[in-house]
């Protein structure tokens, strides 16, 4: 009996990797999925911090894809190792802080190590030539294969016919004729193939599945690095950039104001880490102060906070400030007017 050929598919939770995996599974190859968690992934649950998103299904798209396809999924925490990719990308950033090409190379390299350790034969990705401006161009396809060390063990079933033949095709593990020749930015061929496979309800996240492609998130990350003077970060930093309104009046501190209950609940977990405050005389949100604010800064922060509470139209709002040494201050402030908070303060 011939050996069962096995492949690992990089699963992002989106449609393309789902189609790529299914295309190869249909040819009798045993496929398992691998999903890398960088910390910047836009998952149902990071959205779920915000209450307004509660109506949407909170599923994890990668797990959902794996279940639809009937394959195992290995989720790998790469938060620590990913720092080097994000901080020093050899090929630079895309439109925002997304180091897509280095990221792809890194993930395919990790998948290569995984197939060696687990005795699998090749790697599948859902890349489509010309689909993305940075990492999925004609010129970058061979770079990913070469620099990841995967070389011809990397099969892109959705555009394989546009690329040089790979080992899985040469060895007859998969039939090249049954692979695809998708290219360009149109999503029509993918939709048609999804119809053919009977896939419905697949994820089509508007802003992609990574916070680093988001302009506003990227600005906050750059602000964090600049004000700290150091590009190191940890998972708490990454998470906190996802929640709240971030307002920076000066380099010493920024104030993070919860936009709704879900965010406030999440931020409550950081009350021991940051100076924090909320209105004591009116209903209003929780705020964290990140940095090293002085006394005047704390007063200014209280005025900003009061702007977002129900006392905003009044002259006098009481604010309770909890300092890191356990001391609690009660101060009274006049809320700032909307026009008194310059646009440039909003990160």
């Amino acid at each position: 009996m011939s050996k069962q050929i096995k492949a690992v598919a990089l699963i992002s939770g989106g449609l393309d990797s789902m189609l790529a995996a299914q295309t190869v599974m249909q040819q009798g190859v045993h496929v398992e999925g691998i999903n890398f968690f960088t910390g910047f992934c836009v998952e149902g649950h990071t959205h779920a911090i915000r209450k307004k998103d509660k109506a949407k299904p909170k599923r994890n798209n990668s797990l959902w894809v794996a279940e639809q396809l009937g394959m195992k999924l290995h989720i790998v925490d790469i938060i620590e190792e990913y720092k080097d990719v994000l901080i020093n990308p050899k090929h630079g950033y895309g439109a925002n802080m997304n180091p897509c090409l280095d990221c792809k190379i890194f993930m395919v390299n990790k998948a290569k190590q995984w197939i060696q350790e687990n005795d699998f034969d090749f790697i599948i990705t859902g890349e489509v030539m010309g689909q993305r401006p940075m990492s999925q161009r004609k010129e970058t396809m061979p770079i990913v294969a070469r620099e990841s060390g995967a070389d011809d063990l990397l099969l892109r079933p959705l555009c394989a016919k546009n690329l040089p033949i790979t080992k899985p095709e040469r060895e007859g593990w998969v039939n090249r004729e049954l692979l695809h020749d998708f290219s360009g930015r149109s999503r029509k061929p993918q939709m048609a193939l999804a119809d053919e496979f009977g896939f419905e309800d697949y994820a089509q996240p508007a802003g992609g599945c990574c916070f680093l492609t988001d302009e506003s998130y990227s600005k906050k990350l750059v602000d964090l690095w600049e004000t700290r003077g150091d590009k190191d970060y940890d998972l708490d930093d990454v998470m906190l950039l996802k929640v709240g309104r971030h307002i920076r009046p000066n380099p010493r501190f920024k104030i993070m104001v919860a936009r709704e209950e879900g965010e406030a609940r999440f931020m409550t977990g950081y009350k021991k880490t940051f100076i924090n405050m909320n209105c004591s005389t009116h209903r209003g949100p929780l705020a964290l102060l990140v940095g090293e604010p002085n006394e005047d800064d704390i007063k200014l922060a209280a005025q900003i906070l009061a702007r977002y509470g129900q006392g905003r139209e009044t002259e006098d709002v009481g604010v309770e400030v909890r300092l890191l040494n356990g001391e609690i201050l009660q101060i009274n402030v006049k809320p700032l007017l909307a026009t008194e908070i310059p646009q440039a303060w909003f990160i």
Binding site: E43, H45, I49, N60, A66, I75, V76
Partner: protein, 75 residues
């Protein structure tokens, strides 16, 4: 059968799933694992992960802010 516990509180999905996955790797078929998390997302994700990977959910419950899932390790 051994009962093991995993504290995944204050982690947001998919981290509780990753920690569960890594813990299950160290266990034997038939062992039980009780995962405690504060992210309600686990109530959906851990059962899905179990279905995909051949493990069995024995019980799920909510106690105040904790979501507790007991599972049995499959083959």
């Amino acid at each position: 059968m051994n009962l093991h516990k995993l504290d995944a509180r204050r982690l947001l999905c998919p981290l509780p799933v990753i920690r569960t996955q890594d813990k299950v790797k160290q266990l034997q078929t038939g062992d039980e694992l009780e995962v405690t998390s504060t992210d309600p997302g686990v109530m959906q994700d851990i059962p899905t992960w179990c279905r995909i990977n051949g493990h069995q959910i024995l019980e799920t419950q909510q106690q105040n802010n904790d979501y507790i899932i007991r599972l049995k390790v499959g083959e």
